[in-house]
Amino acid sequence: MARDGATVLPGGAAEASAAPRRGFLASVGEGLAAWLPALPLMALAIVFLVVPTVELVVRSFYTPDLGWNLSFWQDTLTSNGSRKAILTSVRLGLVCATIALVIGTPLAWAISRMVTAKRSTWLALLNVGANFGGIGLAFGYMAALGTYGMVTLAVQKVISGFMPPEIGSFTSLVMAYSYTNVPLFVLLTLPAMGIIRTEWMEAAETCAATRWQFWRYIGAPVLAPFALAGWLLIFTWSIGLYGLAYALGRTASTTGELRLITLQIGLTLNTGAGKEERAYVLAVVLLLLATVALVAYRLMLRRALRWFT
């Protein structure tokens, strides 16, 4: 690039020989000018995102008296409670993401082919779902499917003795998470649905392909990477959800009936219960899961776009 300090201007050797003398200060100035407008943002990101993350990683491996060691990791991974928390969080992520994928993909496809007015209605409804989260959703869920919830009472009129999943149970969390996850998944994958052009279906038809063959050979291969990328995001976000889990599962969590990584960390910090060093390890486990998911997500997106860019 022409602005680099080392560039020799067309003008002669005299210019070039002068360069080393000015070089140091000039390159410091150049370097500063190249980064200056971004420095405040970088400082914020380093202090509030990068360093705190590193802090947790270090603390999970380091104790002042023993130095670097794996004792926290051994302790945490052999503890039944922590093991259960990790397994349940992963299972929750898998189940939630898969539900979002299975319901969300056909829904997104159908919405992408709707006429504008009908589509806007659905988008509004999905936006309600995607924005109704956290503590408010926990309340709404209880009002609908709690012991005296609207839906519970309505179903009991038909099936006497019907009881919804207990608040704080794994199933109740999956059902409540789905309110946010399914709409989010649809909103995330909707633009990708527009890639499939109606002409492709017609072209496939004139090539003697059935509707099923079109999806088998063209539709599914094109959409699959986008859908899987969406699955990975929902998985990551589901294992990391905290507010809703705290509101629904706090009681079940203190009694040990429900264990999730996020809740274990939150309870340790809020009540001082449990060993803090286990919270470091659990936090790093979440970090690892998120990193793997992010790398997989990037690969998936790259794959999804490879036929178009």
Partner: protein, 280 residues
């Protein structure tokens, strides 16, 4: 066959619509119910809870606190992000590498983990910061910046900021003048859309506020949780609060959709970065 398919389709849509709508409907009914025993619908209706909610000082304070915090976070992020993205596009593309890496952290790492890390790091290096609005402001700005970063980056790409900048420089404008008179007016809708997402992130945030400030900075989420877990409190007040919070967030998302209308290539988050990365 076709007939069955159509009925199945219709049932699928109806079920989803109902599933999505019911909790919201229940909350709305709660906020207007005078008495609700064991019937499906309330026994009697009233507007009283809405009045009570607005007279409740704790709620007014929580609402006010949450709102000004979200506005402050938004302003801070604009000041931090816009110059960085502008410079990355016209001067130093390496800024992108750093910015995308930092943006990935709040994108995938749960906020509770970020809160935990900040708590430990600040507890060690600046304990007097804990519990202050300042730490909430800075940490919210950090977790919300990716939304603004991606939106502004996209808007600048769409406005072909490189060309605009060259044109402005040829006219003798300084970088600051260029930013103010040429760049900003051309990225305003992207800026607004990203800014609203920043606002919404701070407005609805729970984990960081709970861990880093707790009752010393009671925002709407914290107050809601208290109402929900405290069995003596009024459920109807909680309903009103939930609706208010939802209306703000829903209104923002509608505005974002409106501001982003007609924009191409909004695939999954990060896909634009992937495309530019490939092209550059």
């Amino acid at each position: 066959m076709v007939h069955l398919g159509r009925i199945g389709r219709w049932a699928f849509f109806a079920f989803i619509a109902l599933y999505l709508a019911i909790p919201m409907v229940a909350v709305i009914l709660y906020s207007f119910s005078a008495r609700w025993t064991s019937n499906i619908l309330p026994d009697a209706y009233t507007l009283a809870h809405w009045g009570e909610a607005f007279r409740d000082e704790r709620m007014r304070n929580a609402f006010w606190r949450t709102t000004w915090m979200a506005i402050a976070v938004l302003l801070l992020d604009i000041v931090l992000v816009v110059p960085a993205v502008y410079w990355q596009r016209v001067r130093n593309p390496k800024i992108r590498v750093f910015a995308e890496l930092s943006a990935a952290i709040p994108f995938v790492l749960p906020f509770i983990v970020i809160a935990f890390g900040i708590l430990k790091f600040m507890g060690r290096s600046a304990p007097q910061m804990l519990g202050t609005p300042l730490i909430i402001l800075l940490s919210h700005a950090a977790i919300a910046f990716p939304f603004l970063y991606w939106a502004v980056d996209g808007a600048m790409a769409a406005a072909n900021v490189g060309r605009l900048n060259e044109a402005a420089v040829v006219c003798g404008a300084s970088p600051l003048q260029t930013l103010r008179h040429v760049i900003l007016p051309n990225i305003s809708s992207g800026l607004a859309a990203g800014g609203m997402l920043v606002f919404a992130t701070s407005f609805g945030e729970f984990a960081l506020v709970q861990i880093l400030a707790g009752s010393r900075f009671e925002n709407i989420s914290l107050y809601s949780l208290d109402l929900l877990l405290n069995t003596t409190s009024q459920v109807e007040l909680m309903a009103v609060l939930t609706i208010l919070m939802f209306v703000v967030l829903f209104g923002i998302s509608v505005a974002v959709v409106y501001l982003n209308r007609g924009r191409e290539g909004g695939f999954l988050p990060g896909s634009r970065a992937l495309v530019t990365e490939k092209n550059e």
